[in-house]
């Protein structure tokens, strides 16, 4: 799983071509630049808007930089914005989001990696059927499953608890994650597995001593996907828990949808950015690892 980082392109291998302004380069960089603008524009608008005061926003141009920078919207979004009677902004939900995300990410990845491992290396009778059902599960709209899961959680006594929500995230993370892990483990050299079997290592022995140490890249991918998905989840968080466990996105929804007089776009944007901050930071830090992880095996199958 050495990420094949250096590969030839259509041109000659070796040092970069000297002519910086060749037509080819202009085309490549030009296209990339234009596309980058499309991707960055919304982020720019969000940041700029969140730093403006309301009067300035009303005047118009959403693309113009703020004349007077104010951090008030950020403060308001974090600590003061009201929903109903609670005026403590997003801060209420931050720790809840952490409390939900950490165990959910851990459990869902643990389960999915074992699944993938069992499917890739210990293919037992009927495994393909279960796997197919699982992939089918990836297509089931969440809304359809809301009600059956309310009933299941009620019956096992986990409704309204943190662990109930963790379980739900584990279930819905399972299809895609299992697919990724299965593909990854199938791409590992089979000789390793065979040798370990010959040495008498069992299911868990091979998993912990051989598979896990070799699987950092795919774990990084899984962690990133899950942190993002779970952190951004609104529906499950609000349906399967109660107010003292509501994640940050619930407050975000409340702030964005509670119109008190006029829509405070600057506060909305600040709240949006604050909520997205955790996954954003993770992405910008681990961008390289992410691609490497995917390159390392998510793509073989």
């Amino acid at each position: 799983m050495d990420p094949v980082r250096n590969r030839v392109d259509g041109g000659p291998s070796g040092p970069r071509p000297r002519r910086r302004f060749s037509r080819r380069n202009i085309f490549i960089y030009g296209t990339l630049f234009v596309v980058a603008v499309y991707y960055l524009l919304p982020l720019y608008v969000m940041i700029v808007t969140s730093l403006k005061g309301m009067p300035e926003i009303r005047l118009g141009n959403i693309f113009s930089p703020p004349v007077e920078i104010t951090f008030e919207p950020w403060v308001k979004a974090w600590a003061e914005a009201c929903t109903g009677l609670n005026c403590d902004g997003l801060s209420r939900g931050f720790w809840n989001s952490v409390r939900i995300t950490v165990p959910s990410v851990f459990l869902s990845i643990a389960v999915a990696s074992v699944n993938g491992y069992a499917l890739a290396n210990w293919r037992f009778r009927g495994a393909d059927i279960f796997f197919t059902i699982l992939i089918f599960g990836a297509f089931i709209p969440y809304q359809v499953m809301l009600y059956p899961i309310v009933i299941i959680l009620r019956e096992i006594g986990l409704y309204g608890t943190l662990w109930g929500l963790v379980l739900v995230h584990t279930i819905f993370g399972m299809p895609i994650l299992t697919l990724l892990f299965r593909n990854y483990f199938t791409s590992l050299p089979e000789e390793l597995f065979k040798a370990a079997r010959v040495d008498g290592a069992g299911f868990w022995g091979i998993y912990f001593r051989i598979m896990l140490p070799m699987s950092l890249p795919i774990f990084v991918v899984a962690i990133i996907l899950q942190v993002t998905g779970i952190w951004n989840d609104f529906l499950f968080g609000v349906i399967y828990t109660k107010p003292d466990l509501y994640p940050m996105t619930v407050q975000l929804n409340n702030i964005v949808n509670s119109v008190q007089g006029v829509k405070e776009y600057n506060v909305n944007m600040a709240a949006t950015l604050l909520t997205g901050l955790v996954p954003l930071v993770i992405y910008f830090i681990s961008g390289k690892l992410f691609v490497r992880g995917i390159a390392a095996g998510a793509v073989k199958g």
Binding site: P3, V4, R7, D9, G10, G11, R16, L32, A36, Y39, P42, N61, I62, V114, N115, A118, W122, R123, F124, A127, F130, T132, L134, I135, F136, F139, I140, P141, Q143, V144, M145, L146, M174, P175, I176, L179, N183, T186, E190, F193, K194, F203, T228, N232, D233, L235, T249, L252, G276, L280, Y283, F284, G287, F290, V291, A295, A298, V299, K300, G301
Partner: protein, 297 residues
Amino acid sequence: MAQYPRPVQLFRNLNAKIAAIPMIVTAVVIFAGGTIWTVVYSFTNSKLLPRVKWVGLDQYERLWSTSRWLISIENLMIYGVCSLIFSLVIGFMLAALLDQKIRFENTFRSIFLFPFALSFIVTGLVWQWILNPDFGVQSVIRELGWESFSFDPLYNPNIVIYGILIAGLWQGTGLIMCLMLAGLRGIDEDVWKAARVDGIPVWKTYLFIIIPMMRPVFITTLVIIASGIVRVYDLVVAQTSGGPGIASEVPAKYVYDKMFLGQNLAQGFAGSTMMLLSVLIVLIPWAYLEFGGKKRV
């Protein structure tokens, strides 16, 4: 991939089976069980709470005579086809461009990927704003002097679904690009060398040699894109709430609204049964190709 020597005795695989119990339970109880439950109750007239009072196909008759459902299906088709094509094409093109040993690859990649970190709710809000004719793109261009410029997809029932598509692509193509990039990096460089020696043009190499070699990547990608399309909901809610009118309604929203707002569970279940049915139609041939008949090499 090889067929690992299978232990003869059943119990030697016991650990693997025990380890797979969570998966089996999820697959059988939640996904299969929940689906069957849904299908069964779609033949009842359950309102707010599920109850067994059979009404045959009434819910389906009503479903297919509801213009909102028909519009939802049409929208999903348009959105699905466009999203699939554009995601794959843009994702692949960007990956191919990034794969040209360029400078600032990390920067560009992060720029393309970061929207994926944001939720659909956020995506919808931002684009709702940028596409707002009163202070978004349209007003800015008009201020620049082009008075007749008109670009208000979210307020025009005929093109609103494309407004949602713009936002959906913004959020999702980064991931596709990453998958494609990873796939391209996984291609042996000898392939390129051989193609160059044979004098095959670059675009032909991509189209006829590289892409077929990337089949696994495309399968993973397809699953990710397609599952996202079927489930598209939050984006629409955040961006247009299905409006103007019912021009941007999607099936998942119909299902949710009927179940929880209309308090007509069975009608929602009928809608979801139709959605699941269409997924099955696509999925079963795939599963057959993937697992059936052929032995893995």
